[in-house]
Every structure is written in C-alpha cells, then in structure tokens.
C-alpha cells in the first residue's frame, strides 16, 4: 500500500466528522485529537520498532518487554485502592503470565527470541493479561465490598481468610478469564482476529495465519489464567487485617 493510497483512505475520517457535526454528536474535537494521536503514536512506534528490529539485541528486546509489562501493570491498577502494593502484584502477575507462555513458545520453537517475533506476540499477551487482570481486581474488590457480612460470619466460625473468601477469589478469576474464553468460542465465526487478518493481508496463506492464530489462542488462554490467578491470590489478603478480620472498605 502506498502513502498516496493511505492518504486517500483518510476521506473516511471526513465521513465520521460529517456525521458527528450534522447529527450534533459533538465528538469532532475529540475525533481530531484521536486521529492525530493515533497517527503520531503509530508512526513513532513504527520508527522505534524498525530501529529495534534492526539492532536485534536481546538485552534491548528484554528491556522493551519489561517496559511493556510495567505499563500494562499501571493500567491494570488504574482504578484500585492501595495502588502501590497492587502495582507490584500486577507487575509480577503480568510478568509471569507473559514469561511462562512465551518460554513455552520459544522452547518448542514456535517463535524465536528475536524482536520482530517476541515483541508483537508479547504485545498481544500483555494486552490481554492486562485487561483480564483489571477485571479480576475490580471483581475482587466488588466481591469483598458486597459480601462483607458473609465473610465475617465465616471468620467467626473459625475459617481462615482464604477459606472464608475462596469462592469470591474464584469468582474474580472467572470474571477475568471469561472474555477470552467467550471469544475463543466465536473465533472464526464472528470475527477474524487482528493478527490473522494482518497476516492474510500481508500475503500469507490462510493456513499459516490459522496456525499462528491457534498458537496465539493457546498462549492467551494460559497467559490470562496465570495472570488472573496469581493476581487474585496475591491480593485477597489485603482485604484482611493481621488479626484475621475483614476490613471495612
């Protein structure tokens, strides 16, 4: 695709702006900002990626991956309380949720530890882990808020913190994993995932694209399972005091 072609497709922007203006949706300003940001950010990342792919250095690649995990952990904890504590947990759980499946892919030879492969694949993993973890944290918080009385009754019966809240922990893990499990079931029927679409558009055979997509699905599933369960089991104790009382939040 040439730059001229790309510029010509920008006519679509004016369709959206036109609708917004004529229908008084008042999104024009935000749309323009969004468009400019998208172009600038993507161009920059394009330059950075080109540079990183060229130098092809393992240390640089690893640093980039850690930065991605770090950013994701900040986004996943954007809304929680006790942010500092939670960020550490988020970093560790996203890190583990990414490192484990990625190691399997590298050891089995599905991908190589070169930036052009690990960075985009990790990006998918980290992005999904981040969203799942955010959901798990939120659900855990809601569960502890709305089930305060039940937890207290169980503690009063001599239950440990873990026993008193295990069903809530499990529920929050389930909530975090649900979207990926749901989307797995409609894969190929309702939507062709972005990565697969990209490969096909770039001229790869659909068979290869599907192989990669299946691999990505396995990977995302395990990443999300690892991240949400580490995240939930590492945070539930924060809802209890040292004297094994449930905190009022």
């Amino acid at each position: 695709m040439s730059i001229t072609t790309l510029l010509m497709t920008s006519i679509l922007i004016f369709v959206a702006l036109g609708i917004s203006k004529s229908q008084k949706i008042h999104l024009e300003k935000e749309m323009v900002i969004g468009i400019i940001r998208a172009i600038v950010q993507l161009s920059l990342i394009g330059l950075v990626l080109t540079y990183i792919f060229e130098i092809d250095n393992r240390i640089v690649t690893t640093v980039i991956l850690m930065l991605m995990v770090y950013n994701a952990s900040r986004v996943a904890t954007k809304r929680g309380k006790n942010k500092e504590e939670l960020k550490k947990v988020a970093f560790f759980s996203i890190f583990a949720g990414t490192a484990i499946p990625m190691s399997v892919l590298i050891i089995t030879g599905a991908i190589e530890y070169v930036p052009s492969q690990v960075i985009p694949v990790s990006g998918m993993v980290i992005g999904n882990a981040m969203v799942a973890l955010g959901l798990t944290f939120k659900q855990l918080h809601d569960n502890f808020t709305s089930n305060f009385y039940e937890i207290e009754i169980k503690l009063a019966l001599g239950a440990t913190e873990r026993v008193a809240s295990i069903h809530l922990i499990r529920d929050s893990i389930r909530t975090g994993m649900q979207p990926i499990v749901d989307s797995m079931q409609t894969l190929g029927i309702v939507q062709l995932p972005g990565m697969m679409t990209g490969l096909i558009l770039a001229g790869q055979s659909p068979v290869l694209a599907i192989k990669y997509q299946i691999m990505v699905t396995f990977m995302l599933l395990s990443a999300v399972a690892i991240t949400t369960s580490i995240g939930a089991f590492a945070t539930y104790r924060k809802y209890f005091t040292e004297e094994k009382q449930v905190k009022r939040i």
Partner: protein, 236 residues
C-alpha cells in the same frame, strides 16, 4: 475459674472512643447479659471476645493467656458468635451446618443435630430447603445452630432475637436456656430488652457510652434505687 479478663480496655474508631477504659471479668460457666441503649458499644464489646474487633489499648486475657497471643482461628472455634441479623449462605439450609464441620474436619453425630432441631421447633426437612424460602425466625435458628455445630465453650449472642416475633423469640430464648443448662457453656448475651435480660442471664452489665454503668445480679435491676441513666432507659 476466670475465663475472660478485660483490663482497662479502650476501642477507638476514627478517633472516637467507642469503649472507654473498661474492665470486666467473666468466670467459666457464667451467663451474662449486656444491656444498654443503641450505640452504647454492646456489639463492639462483644466482638472483642473472639477478636472480630480489636482493642486500641488495655489487655484481654482468655484462660489466663493474653488474647493477642491466641490464634484467632482456634479462638473463634471455641468462642462462637451469633450475629444480630440472620444470614445464611449457600443454597440449602444444610450447607450452613456442614460448613463449620467441613472447615474444621469435624464429624458430628446426626443425633446431635436432630436433637437440636427438635429443641428449636424445627422439622428435619428444613435442612433440604432453600435458604431464601425460610422465614426470618427459621433463618436465625439455623444461624444459631450453625454456631453450635462446633460445640463452643463460649457463646456470644448479639441481639439475636431483635428481628424475631414474640413466638420465635420465646423459642430461641428457651433454647438458649436449655443449652446453658445442658452443656458446659459460658454465655454472653447482648440485648436492649430488660425483660429478656430478666429471663436469661443471672448477671447483667449495663453499658452506656462505652462504659460500664452497672454490673450486678439481674434481679437487682428490678429492686431498689438505680442510677438515673438506668431508670431512664427502663422507662422507655
């Protein structure tokens, strides 16, 4: 034998003293009422006995041991608590009775449960019923039974009849008295009803604004001159 001893304890929440420099002893086998106006700190005080709440200063001893050094889990297994508002978890009523047994790996003879159910005026088939279909009175009786599954040495009861009608209240009261007579148990019962206090514990502690105003035989509250605040409370 001294079971609980509280020495100059205070409870501070958000910079207000809910319990103020209170001292109190409970001997093994006593049946004590704690009475006082709403907001006087009765629940807060009761929750200290099984460490559901914490003291800000002072000391509490349980069987001669500082409560801070006890394991809250084993303490709570011995010192049972029934809450004011009946609440059952799970789907069926029986899950509530199985729960304390399963988390502590205890086996209990069926007869114990059936006997308790009978004393509580409940049919055996209540165990198979959905919790949400039980009346408030039935729920509270199952809550009581849930705590008794662990055969606690101490029973802490926080206004457990406050949401019940007179018929259910009578059943529960008689049951508590039976339990007290039948088992080797110490009971601390919180109530805001002096008539109930009269039917229950022999000793009554009157609490106001986090302080003990009176600690005497329950009967003595009905004779002689009482402190002004207590009279005012009775007149209501």
């Amino acid at each position: 034998m001294l079971l609980f001893e509280m020495r100059n304890i205070s409870v501070k929440i958000n910079n207000t003293n809910i319990i103020k420099n209170l001292s109190l002893t409970i001997r093994k086998g006593e049946f004590i009422n704690i009475i006082g106006p709403s907001g006087s700190g009765k629940s807060t005080l009761l929750r200290l006995f099984n460490r559901l709440s914490s003291i800000s200063s002072g000391e509490i001893y349980y069987c001669g041991k500082n409560l801070n050094e006890t394991n809250p889990i084993s303490l709570r297994k011995e010192v049972g608590y029934v809450f004011q508002k009946p609440y059952l978890f799970g789907e069926k009523a029986k899950e509530n009775l199985e729960y304390p047994l399963s988390i502590h790996n205890i086996y209990l003879e069926k007869d114990y449960i059936f006997n308790m159910l009978r004393q509580l005026n409940l049919e055996q088939d209540i165990l198979e019923k959905d919790c949400e279909n039980l009346s408030g009175g039935e729920q509270q009786r199952i809550c009581l039974l849930r705590t008794l599954m662990l055969k606690p040495k101490v029973l802490l009861l926080d206004e457990i009849t406050s949401s019940l009608d007179p018929v259910n209240t009578k059943i529960v009261e008689e049951f508590i008295v039976n339990i007290y007579n039948e088992f080797d148990v110490t009971i601390v019962l919180v109530t805001h009803n002096i008539q109930q206090a009269k039917r229950m514990g022999k000793r009554t502690i009157f609490l106001e604004k986090g302080e003990i105003l009176e600690d005497a035989e329950t009967n003595s509250y009905f004779t002689g001159n009482k402190k002004e605040q207590i009279n005012r409370f009775f007149d209501k």
